[in-house]
């Protein structure tokens, strides 16, 4: 395996047509680790990476039911931004944004992070008031943000429909220039490879079937590849968090829903930025490959089925077409659903639990991808020191008992 990619190593291997080994070695589980991470998605792999890199703990296993990049990490619409309203949320997402900005170099893997900007459209006077409030809050928190009017939007995105003769005319938007997109499965591969290089075992096709708890302390996990012991276990299993929690006798304040997205056939470059609209509920960007990546909303019912209702797709397509009539003849290539665990306040849980040594990082709902490095970073410190990272403190699970919810849902709850 190539330890470090460089222009020289790639050129050499390219000419020699060799040394294209697997980027991630396949590991079999040992009987004991210091820390087990359940879930090999972006957040879990980032946790393992920062445990090894920043906390000096390399005796770590990441246990993944499927394969790396096969879950929600490889299923989302890849939008990255940090323009959240609440101090707690914007600090966490901005922490993540700063890590994104150096991530490709840090991981020695090109995650194709592209800061092409994100527009969050406003369609009513109230939308615009909320946008101004959020932009002001962002600026005060050191997050770049500006308010733009419909003329500026039209100048930047000539194909957008700013006509007044539509059901929800565009009045303006917030714009975050540092926001953008990244190659989602590349992020999973990059973290997995970097963590693996530091000594972390990435164990794929290994499903956790039970969690061993003795006298209120976690002892390890039972998996389809045998029992693995560890004093500390971090659960980062997104849509399946409640299933994992049940194994340890816990309940969580989350419910699982399908979230859908779809991509078109590849087109020539036509949309250079990311456009999101909360009011009509759709968001769209164009990938480097050329396909339009379009995200819809969640279905209201609980589901683990990885598919949603046609109604949601129709609603989203209608919204996108009102914004971009030019896309009306674009053919869609694929459509899919992922299962997201949604918290009542639409903010994540990064927290210890009643079981000693068992930690949960869950409840990211529809917007977890943008937080991947930041989430892993604060969760790694939380597990390593058995004390919540400063940025994670407001995201303790006890907020549902104390009532200190982070009301991001209605505030900056723009489509993720």
């Amino acid at each position: 395996m190539q330890k470090k990619y460089s222009w020289y190593s790639l050129l050499k291997a390219g000419f020699a047509n060799q040394d294209w080994d697997k980027a991630i070695p396949s590991s079999k589980p040992k009987s004991k680790y210091d820390i087990i991470i359940i879930g090999g998605g972006g957040h879990g792999l980032a946790t393992a990476y920062y445990l090894a890199k920043e906390c000096g703990i390399t005796n770590v296993a990441v246990v993944e039911k499927g394969y790396i990049g096969g879950g929600n990490t490889g299923r989302n619409t890849t939008i990255i931004r940090s323009n959240y309203l609440r101090d707690e949320a914007s600090s966490l997402y901005e922490h993540s944004m700063r890590l994104w900005e150096g991530l490709s170099e840090d991981l020695n893997f090109n995650v194709m992070f592209s800061q092409r900007g994100v527009y969050n459209l406003g369609h009513t006077l109230q939308d615009m008031r909320d946008i101004e409030r959020r932009v002001n809050a962002n600026v005060l928190n050191g997050v770049d943000a500006v308010v733009v009017d419909d003329k500026e939007i039209k100048e930047q995105i000539p194909i957008i429909n700013t006509s007044k003769n539509v059901r929800y005319p565009i009045m303006g938007a917030s714009y975050q220039a540092r926001a953008g997109v990244a190659r989602h499965d590349g992020v999973a591969w990059g973290f997995a490879r970097a963590a693996s290089n530091l000594g972390v075992d990435i164990i794929q096709n290994c499903e956790v079937i039970d969690i061993e708890v003795e006298e209120g302390r976690v002892k390890g996990v039972k998996t389809t590849q045998g029992d693995i012991m560890a004093d500390r276990v971090g659960c980062v299993s997104a849509g399946h968090s409640s299933v994992i929690a049940k194994m340890a006798g816990l309940r969580l304040p989350v419910e699982s829903h399908p979230l859908q997205a779809f991509v078109s056939e590849a087109l020539k470059p036509i949309l250079h930025t990311v456009v999101m609209s909360n009011a009509v509920h759709g968001y769209v960007s164009q990938s480097d490959k050329g396909d339009l990546v379009i995200g819809a909303g969640i279905d209201g019912y609980n589901s683990y089925a990885q598919r949603g209702s046609a109604k949601i797709v129709e609603h989203c397509a209608a919204a996108i077409l009102e914004l971009f009539p030019i896309f009306s003849r674009v053919r869609m290539n694929r459509q899919w659903g992922g299962i997201v665990d949604v918290c009542p306040d639409a903010c994540p849980i990064i927290s210890p639990t009643k079981v000693e040594g068992l930690y949960f990082n869950c409840g990211w709902g529809t917007g977890g991808f943008k937080a991947t490095p930041g989430s892993g970073n604060v969760f790694a410190h939380t597990i390593a020191q058995d004390k919540q990272h400063d940025l994670a403190v407001p995201f303790h699970i006890d907020r549902f008992t104390t009532g200190a919810l982070i009301d991001e849902h209605g505030a900056a709850g723009v489509a993720h």
């Binding site: 399946h240 409640s242 299933v243 309940r251 969580l252 304040p253 989350v254 419910e255 699982s256 279905d299 209201g300 019912y301 609980n302 589901s303 683990y304 089925a305 209702s309 046609a310 109604k311 665990d341 009542p344 549902f400 008992t401 104390t402």
Partner: protein
Amino acid sequence: MFLITCPYCKESRDQNEFSPAGEAFIARPENPEALSDEEWADYVFYRTNIKGDHWEQWVHTSGCRKYFLVKRSTITHEVLEAATFQEINSENAS
């Protein structure tokens, strides 16, 4: 997408006519003042979020507008049972 038979209208209709209304059998505590913060949080926010057969509430939004109970698989979306609150309660639900 799936069909639900409304126990009031007695018709099998598209799920789009209905709206989900959360997990079933979560009774409002008789004396909220007597609850601890943990018990109140459990009532308001915590859910079982079952992967499997799930008893839940639905409302026939575009039909009779009545609330009723549905047992549905959250793995396959198959609707296994639909009944009124008079017919099923937390004691006789299977």
